[in-house]
């Protein structure tokens, strides 16, 4: 792979607190990499290290095959977009876009050309003379992206660029960023803790926890074959149901139930046995007419219903474990009703009880 950003053995400490530990990460040219993780796991810290806004404690950072570990942020060939937009409030949009270019002492016409191009791409031409205070949230975010765009850099860094926006706008801008990536083909590193964003945008997702990368893979892999229980629980909304039990032969025992493992692909290729967690996503539980096809079926009592419009989430219990099922938005069910569920282990995951690794 042609590497755009290479991070080697990176350590970062704030005083006594080790925030990043021996972190290695290679990002390909033109790749859209999403850093995903819960709050405080070190995503922003990593991004700031790449940008040069934090001095690393140990390790190296290469961008486009150049060691930039000690280079100034502006010399690294990166552009950055921040959560709070971080627009310069006293400059108008044009001033915001040109500030970096003027600092780099670019000729005037070159600056004008780049601003023109960026504002066309982002459709902010009518806003060029406005101050940030006179822009809506989405427009501000677009200007913030524009500021990275005009710098004509190879690597874009986004730090939760959409999390200050409301749900609707977030969905729209998400599409725009995706389009932008398709058109520009730059490398993008994108921090978020919204997994929908991560799933929809990423070529690869790096799931972070406690300053380390847990899994680095394509969205489908991460969603379908999470490497450990943490990733499995973290990815997916509503989140995966876990049943704690035991693998014995070709069945998974939980409470009185024996769920056949037929169809499950073990990571090692061979079936194993012992204490384990079975993870099934709410949307992979079959209901209604299709239940008949499922290899394992069970009746449950509905304890809570959450209709979201497009879907209906049903809470119940399976073998003493809380269990959630996603049904069609049209489904008419009531609390207390009895419902038949079908489980298909070909889409499920099994994790070791102690190591929590995928089996």
């Amino acid at each position: 792979m042609n590497k755009s950003v290479e991070i080697k053995n990176l350590d970062l400490e704030f005083g006594a607190v080790k925030v990043l530990q021996n972190l290695n990460l290679d990002i390909g040219k033109g790749e859209f990499l999403v850093l995903l993780g819960s709050s405080g796991c070190g995503k922003s810290t990593l991004l700031n290290c790449i940008a040069g806004l934090l001095d690393v404690t140990a390790g190296q950072i290469h961008i486009n095959d150049k060691n930039v570990t000690w280079a100034e942020p502006s010399e690294r060939g990166i552009g950055m977009v921040f959560q709070s937009y971080a627009l310069y409030p006293q400059m108008n949009v044009e001033g915001n876009l040109s500030f970096g270019l003027k600092n780099a002492k670019l000729p005037k016409d070159e600056i004008a050309k780049r601003i023109k191009r960026a504002s066309e791409i982002l459709q902010i031409e009518p806003l060029l003379k406005r101050k940030p205070a006179a822009l809506s949230g989405g427009q501000r975010q677009r200007v913030a992206i524009g500021r990275a765009l005009v710098r004509d850099v190879d690597v874009f860094l986004f730090d939760e660029p959409l999390s200050n926006l409301d749900a609707k706008l977030r969905a729209d801008l998400r599409v725009e960023i995706k389009r932008l990536h398709q058109n520009l083909g730059n490398t993008m590193v994108y921090v978020t803790h919204d997994q929908i964003e991560a799933m929809t945008l990423a070529d690869r997702i790096a799931i972070m926890r406690g300053g380390q990368i847990m899994q680095l893979d394509s969205p489908e892999e991460i969603y379908g074959r999470p490497v450990n229980k943490y990733v499995a629980g973290f990815i997916g909304s509503p989140s995966m149901n876990f049943l704690e039990g035991r693998i014995e032969g070709d069945v998974f025992l939980v409470g009185d139930l024996a769920i056949p493992l037929a169809g499950y692909e073990f990571a090692s290729g061979n079936a194993v046995s012992g204490e384990a967690s079975l993870g099934i996503r709410p949307e992979h539980v079959v209901t209604g007419e299709l239940v008949g096809n499922a290899p394992f079926q069970i009746d449950i009592d509905v304890s809570l219903i959450e209709p979201t419009g497009s879907d209906t989430l049903v809470d119940c219990e399976v073998a003493g474990h809380p269990f959630r099922v996603r049904m069609d938005g049209q489904a008419k069910i009531k609390v207390g009703e009895r419902l038949r569920l079908g489980l298909d282990l070909s889409k499920a995951s099994l994790f070791d009880k102690t190591s929590e690794l995928r089996l």
Partner: protein, 297 residues
């Protein structure tokens, strides 16, 4: 292939260059000046600083001087009363003004304007107003209340409180503005929560709002205490230290020793005592409050 880590000394070069005035001031003026003062406090300097060592003589004399003791007591009395009252008054005024009152701007300006006047002026005016011959006392008496007596500046036991009246007049405006700013910075939802909980306003202030205003209180504390420790002009302008020595303060002792008694050594010894006290209290506190890595790195 790894580029060497660049020298730490030259990282943030501009920042360090820009901080040179601060560093020079801190080291040469504040530390250097303090050290110089301490050194000369062990000498027998008179009108001019001279390195004639006398050991602790100056300190012995200092602590056996009644005027110095009285000065310290006065500073304590004045300082504590000032601190308490200026905070109480400043806060109450801010709370009153915060009630969405009418004429807010006018009232605020009236309360604040004394801060724009120098202590010399403040002292002079209040000396006048408190003068029994033609000030408040004579006015009230002319209204027919013949036995009315209000002459704090002429009664050695309470003269320091006469100074306090003027000090409060001058200083409480700034505290009021600071407190007002702090109050305006409080999350309105906390007020709402307290109202829903049925907590009366005064309790909300005392148990909820004031604890939330800690940062403002810190800044205010620094401003007020620096003013108290340095108090000199007001005393000179208002009472000249009198009646008797009832309103003497340490800074005045220092100044008088240096320029009236031509006894620099004694003045420096007194200064050293003041600086030492301040340093003992302020430096550890300031380091805790402002140092550390509470903020960004």
């Amino acid at each position: 292939m790894a580029d060497a880590r660049p020298s730490q000394l030259f990282r943030n070069k501009s920042a360090k260059i820009a901080a040179i005035p601060m560093i020079v001031t801190a080291l040469f003026v504040f530390v250097g000046g303090t050290a110089w003062t301490i050194v000369y406090s062990f000498t027998k300097s008179g009108l001019l600083p001279r390195l004639k060592w006398v050991g602790l003589d100056q300190y012995e004399r200092l602590w056996s001087t009644k005027r110095w003791i009285v000065s310290i007591e006065n500073l304590m009395i004045y300082g504590l009363s000032m601190l308490v009252l200026v905070f109480v008054i400043g806060f109450i005024l801010a709370a009153l003004i915060d009630q969405k009152i009418r004429f807010e701007n006018t009232i605020r300006t009236v309360i604040l304007y004394p801060y724009a006047l120098s202590f010399v002026v403040t002292g002079l005016v209040w000396q006048w107003i408190l003068n029994p011959e033609f000030g408040i006392e004579s006015i009230v008496r002319s209204w027919g209340w013949e036995s009315f007596a209000f002459d704090p500046l002429y009664n050695a036991d309470i003269a320091i409180f006469g100074v306090l009246i003027a000090g409060l007049w001058q200083g409480s405006g700034l505290v009021m503005v600071l407190m007002l700013a702090g109050l305006r910075g409080i999350d309105q939802e906390v007020w709402k929560a307290a109202r829903v909980d049925g907590i009366p306003a005064w309790k909300t202030y005392i148990f909820i709002v004031i604890p939330m205003m800690r940062p403002v209180f810190i800044t205010t504390l620094v401003l007020v205490v620096t003013g108290i420790v340095k108090i000199y002009d007001l005393i000179v302008a208002q009472t000249g230290g009198g009646p008797g020595i009832s309103t003497e303060v340490p800074a005045k002792y220092v100044y008088d020793m240096m320029f009236q008694a031509n006894n620099l050594g004694q003045g420096f010894a007194a200064s050293t005592m003041m600086l030492l006290t301040v340093a003992l209290v302020v430096i550890p506190w300031a380091f805790l409050e402002f140092g550390g890595s509470k903020k960004r790195g």
